[in-house]
Symmetry: C2
Subunit: 139 residues, 2 copies
């Protein structure tokens, strides 16, 4: 789907910044922090705008939050069935301690949690840490 369509489908105004940010995510296979996007855009866009843009994208279901090993917040593109206030990012995330990249493993689902009586579980977040394919092969 095109950047323009994505924005329209999520009820968002088509601004220059939003198109640029979305384009970056569409062309990246791993999660990006605000600072990463800022760097990719090479100045020109205010930090605050990026925080707001990415916050809006998250609210509207375009991006979902990903936390790596060190609690660093990154964002990753949502699959198409995410919408406002209803994320479906029930997949595993992998954080590579070598290259630092955090990747969505869409084809590995987060398992159901068993044996937690008396709690109301709304969602479960799961990250595996280790060495990714690319870094293993490069070694």
């Amino acid at each position: 789907m095109s950047v323009d369509d994505l924005l329209r489908n999520h009820g968002l105004k088509k601004t220059t910044t939003r198109k640029q940010v979305l384009d970056i995510y569409l062309n990246t296979d791993h999660a990006l922090a605000v600072a990463d996007v800022e760097e990719a855009l090479g100045d020109g866009v205010d930090r605050v705008t990026l925080y707001r843009t990415m916050g809006t994208f998250e609210e509207k279901g375009l991006l979902h939050k990903v936390y790596d090993d060190d609690g660093k917040l990154k964002f990753s593109l949502c699959s198409s069935d995410c919408s406002s206030h209803q994320h479906h990012d029930n997949h595993l995330h992998f954080h590579c301690r070598k290259c630092g990249k955090t990747t969505c493993i869409e084809n590995v689902a987060v398992p159901e949690v068993e044996g937690l009586e008396g709690f109301d579980i709304q969602d479960v977040y799961m990250v595996a840490n280790g060495t990714c394919k690319d870094c293993i092969q490069a070694a």
Copy 2:
């Protein structure tokens, strides 16, 4: 085990601050951030010292890191089989969105990750978000 024993067993000097911090963790059932410990100690101890103390405790296997829903770093007491550079906190963590407390669910193990070919998984981190027992009963 007593505070003094715990410190000695992990090769740490018995200082006033360390004893106080450890005591707080032994008497709390949920994870605490540096700011929480600072508040519990009611001034008197420098923030920097707490960062260092808790960092040391983590290194030596007395505390393990816990990240809640919002990426906020907290620490939780390790079970007795943790040691330097070899944590065994392979249990589920629960973060309550009502009261904000993050708790270790020691009796629910993190399930094995299946189907990740080509990756080297060192450890897996898992947090369930929702409403905890106490908050459900209080409602």
